[in-house]
Amino acid sequence: MALKMVKGSIDRMFDKNLQDLVRGIRNHKEDEAKYISTCIDEIKQELKQDNIAVKANAVCKLTYLQMLGYDVSWAAFNIIEVMSSSKFTYKRIGYLAASQCFHEGTDVIMLTTNQIRKDLSSPNQYDTGVALTGLSCFVTPDLARDLANDIMTLMSHTKPYIRKKAVLIMYKVFLKYPESLRPAFPRLKEKLEDPDPGVQSAAVNVICELARRNPKNYLSLAPLFFKLMTSSTNNWVLIKIIKLFGALTPLEPRLGKKLIEPLTNLIHSTSAMSLLYECVNTVIAVLISLSSGMPNHSASIQLCVQKLRILIEDSDQNLKYLGLLAMSKILKTHPKSVQSHKDLILQCLDDKDESIRLRALDLLYGMVSKKNLMEIVKKLMIHVDKAEGTTYRDELLTKIIDICSQSNYQYITNFEWYISILVELTRLEGTRHGHLIASQMLDVAIRVKAIRGFAVAQMAMLLDNAHLLAGNTQRNGICEVLYAAAWICGEFSEHLEDPLQTLEAMLRPKVTTLPGHIQAVYVQNAVKLFAAVLTRRETAGEKQAAQETTEMLIEKLPQFVQSADLEVQERASCILQLVKYIQKLQAKEVSVAEEVTALFAGELNPVAPKAQKKVPVPEGLDLDAWINEPPSESESEDEKPKAIFQEDEPKHSRPRLTELDEQELARRREARKQEQANNPFYIKSSPSPQKSYQDTPGVDHIPVVQIDLTVPLKVPGMPISDQYLKLEEERRLKQKQEKKDKKKKKKKEKHGKSRRHDSAHTESEEDIAPAQRVDIVTEEMPENALPSDEDDKDSNDPYKALDIDLDNLVSGGGAYRPLADSEKLPVRTHRPSRTEGLKSPDVDTTAEEQRPKKSKEKDKKKDKERKKSKEEKKKKKRKKSAPTEELEEEEQQHQGEQAEDKISTEDTSEAKEAKTNDVPAAVPTEASDLDFWLATAPVPSKPQQQPLEAVPLSEPESPKESEKDQEESSSKHKKKKHKKEKEEKKSKKKRHRSENVESEAAVHNGTAEEEEEEPLPPMSNYCLLAENSYIKMVYDIQGNLQDGSQVVVSVIFENNCTDFLKSMEFNVLDSLNTRLVRPSGASVHDGIAVPFQLPPGVSNEARFVFTVQSIVMPQKLKGTLTFIVKTEDGSTHEKLDFKLHFTCTSYLITTPCYSDAFAKLLESEELKVNALKLDSINMPFHHLLAKICFHHHFSVVERIDSCASMYSRSIQGHHVCLLVKSGDNSVSIDAKCNEPSLLSHVLEEIKQTFTTAS
């Protein structure tokens, strides 16, 4: 029976291939998920089989399931198995699956390196092709690094099929491994002229992709591309090149001039719409880049606009869309030429296609003027009402606001109209842009003073009807406007007709359903309104009514006090107490209105969002400079040095404005006005009648005039913006009439001269006077604001790494910078270990040179010889060109660099490089090449060769020069490299406190001088904690900077045995004074799990925090480490006892101190004195200091000859001062500290250090 079952399942298993699976899924529509899960079980069975065909079939099915959304990453290893099959059929299945589901996080991906390498070099081109295709989808930085060289070789494969794939994949390799760009670039450039069009196209593709991100590095390729453009007939290639030129022209206007003609020719000649469109696009880019320099391209603009109009009018929606898209680019620089097609664009607004409507909307932005703004917005409002999809409606909403608010509300002539529009927009349900409307309301109300009265009335109405807006608060973004409404009503309550009514509206129970931040604003502004109400009542003498209001407030406020939102709760309870106090005062018949109003006195000015950033750095202030000596690396950088010599004085908080009496307030206000008057950046609110508004809208002195009350303020219900349109028209008509009248009068005076112009009079922009004289207060900026408006570039841009200078790489460049050995692509050798790389700077270069070559490994020999010959050639050259000492030095460095690098290179690029090195003459610099090419006005037939003809003139000079350049650049490069190495070192330091590195840091931290002294011996603070045959522990204790009662114990665990150690647990017996900080919930007897396991030979560091109470005495704590040793036979529990020694030194923190502060400190009497004498010390003085600094956490304050003062501070703030004097063979240390016990122990420990050391 069992066999029957097995057989049955085997039958099914093997019957089911991809087609069966698909069929099965289609037949199980009802229980698809269940069916698939059984299929996955079967697949798991199949994957367990040894037969590769079965596995491949299973993987193929998995690929299908992956498409349906099933995670198949669990089969990653099986996929690799299938990939490594020798048969193409299976291999292809494996690579397909891998390309669908592998990614950088797939851990088994590193297993594929060798398999892929094997496939890349397979004699079968399709094996190679499949591997390349697969790799292009899942290449990781590691794979890119390891395979870059193999792929580069494939770029010169005999089969174009492989070549084009290899060229394309290089882009992915560059992205993941930017270092490969420089070595690979020459070959990539070669491929631009490959005989196979496919390969050529691929190369163009890759370079365009690269150039798009960092165009300036590819400018020198322009002549080559130009040649391709004029010779190629492949539209794909043409489009790419033309797009590339579009990216290059902004960098080089001369290029644009050169391009215009051929592009225009193409526009006229091509029949391919795609090509035509790209040409137009690039011409536009050229025109934009030229717009500042040459205005004389109106013909080209006309041509573009004409062509675009044809596209827009085309019945093909795609062309229409693209036409609008390109039009918007012209709009930015040549708005006039687009504006003439306004009719067409407005027509597109009615298009049934949303994409097209959106594009038309974009264009609208640039088409508005004072004259047509209201009209256009009205049209948009109709669209808003009609729009069904929320996305389009939201887009409309933002566009309306964008259009109206652009360039500081430049086109708005009637702000009442705008407020009404905003209020109308609040009727939109379910929009996401409530906050946008709200911020506009706030902005307008704050900055346009004249409109406040109207705005407040409208906002009060909104608050009154809040229930309509806040209907379904949770998903309705529109309730954000209530935030603005409440704030405006509160802040400008003096404009309210009936503040009490608004106050009541704001305290309705329904309000508590609003989001917390809105409620908070409600509460705050309720008080402002309350103040307004009180003022009115008291001035009217209605004390009773005032008290009633207070009572109402006391009654309503508790509903906010109960709010779940902390902000609301806090404000409400605070205000409730205030109001209760007011009630008490009122009961005593005290008039309180004035005082309550004073709470909110003073005006808020709008501040520009970037104001803070723009504050100029005062002269002489270097923000990058250290204010104090940089702290030693054991301290975190953000620690602010506390005041050492005097206790922090309690800071007096700045007196609040409200505490000032009225007189003082007035005085300050006056002073501020004075200041503002003298500040050219502040827009005065005081009327100055000299200038009129319409000339300089919102820029300078603008008179504030009362609102023209021809517009009825009281609108029943919600306001209707449409009526403004009519009113506006009437008003304008009236204005025109008036003007005409005036003119007529003038004319009459002039006896009717030139009457015919009268009828032709058209209304121009300037003729429209705004309805209200408005003062648009500009946002405040700091004095001398920096004009630069740097865009914050995305620092995470993956393409940044590819910003590599390539010009001087190509042979013939004047500043030819050859590939350094380190830049060569790693080839198939085992990777050099890190330590090897780090050692390099110290390697004695001359020794390296002299060492006999025979001692080298055989396979490196050849390589070495090549290097040697290269060097010799160089030497010869140098002899010719009169070598200087400097050059000699250079060379030595160069050799050193070569010796440094132990990676052997088999690649031919080096040989080639040597060759190019050999013939540096006769080729002009790349830059001048480009210049030359650009300078020749007519299109040169063979741009490549012309520069060559120009050379002979300068030939005698050029070789030397280019060589020099080369020298310079290579030295530059060296410096760079050196830096890099330093950085590497640093990072390594962080990773692991390796001993000798640490010593270096210690010297730096204290000593200010940089004398050339003997190098310091390596030092380490880590001392042995315990050791047995399994594990070794070393530890170091550092004070915790953040917490004065804590120290951090860093323990390095090192696996001593050949077995795996796991489940390590660290535990100590706490003393009363010193306790291990355990996770909450753990008892004092619980240990702390070490957060890692240790494979054989590995070490890792864990940190444990201890709290200490008294630090004046050293301490010892007993502890145990328990762990499990996992051997082949099983696992055993082991333990290791240890004693943790908390020295007094470990409570000290390296703290820099200035000499004057130090002197003051010594003068103070609180410090106790102690002294120490060390005999028979024969180490250099600076070593001694470094040791004290390093081991005992001191810093050097001052050093004079053989005498130094040192300082340190304990975690609990004790000062420890040392005066170290060095005599013959002995050192005396005088010490002062405000804790004698601590001091004596520290001195004891210092003594210990030097006695054990010597």
């Binding site: 066999l3 029957k4 057989k7 085997i10 093997f14 019957d15 291939n17 991809l18 698909v22 089989q49 037969n51 065909a53 079965v54 079939n57 193929c60 690929t63 498409m67 959304g69 995670d71 048969k87 193409f88 059929t89 299976y90 397909l96 669908q100 996080g105 079968n124 399709y126 295709t133 292009s136 989808c137 099929y161 084009k164 794939k165 994949i169 882009y171 069009p197 496919g198 196209s201 691929a202 593709n205 890759v206 365009c208 992709e209 798009r212 794909w236 489009i239 790419k240 797009k243 719409m273 795609s274 469109y277 790209e278 929606q317 795609n318 869309y321 693209l322 949303e354 994409s355 097209i356």
Partner: protein, 193 residues
Amino acid sequence: MIKAILVFNNHGKPRLIRFYQYFPEDMQQQIIRETFHLVSKRDDNVCNFLEGGSLIGGSDYKLIYRHYATLYFVFCVDSSESELGILDLIQVFVETLDKCFENVCELDLIFHMDKVHYILQEVVMGGMVLETNMNEIVGQVENQSRLEKSEGGLSGAPARAVSAVKNMNLPEIPRNINIGDINIKVPNLSPFV
């Protein structure tokens, strides 16, 4: 760069998905759903470009699609690609499918997803356009099918696999012979030999 190529039918069922940037599976499905939602509500006579796919890329990215009978072919591309060029490319891809499958229909894509992938791999590689010449594409695809055929293909695999498994299980079979069950088993297995 092309960021993703999606083929789904009028009901949003995926027929081919090819992401050139990693997204986890659930995200992929969400992108398909969102894209389908965006594309399916559009009339056939509106333009083939779409912005606003929020899940992939953002503002620099566009959806360019074509609708053939029951299938949508959607390419998600960034601004370095020519819009009309990609439309042409979709056409090239579909015509290639048509040549390789001889009158391609949705069923071909359903049952031969792997083959469609192999064809696509000759058109686009790693998000970049590899080849636009249809004859070249078809030639390479055919060469590879020929190579597969010469190896016996995957379709021949199950039969051979069973025989392999049978051989592998041989030592177990004799053990069962004694039970007497063999009369039923062996004839059943024999057709595969």
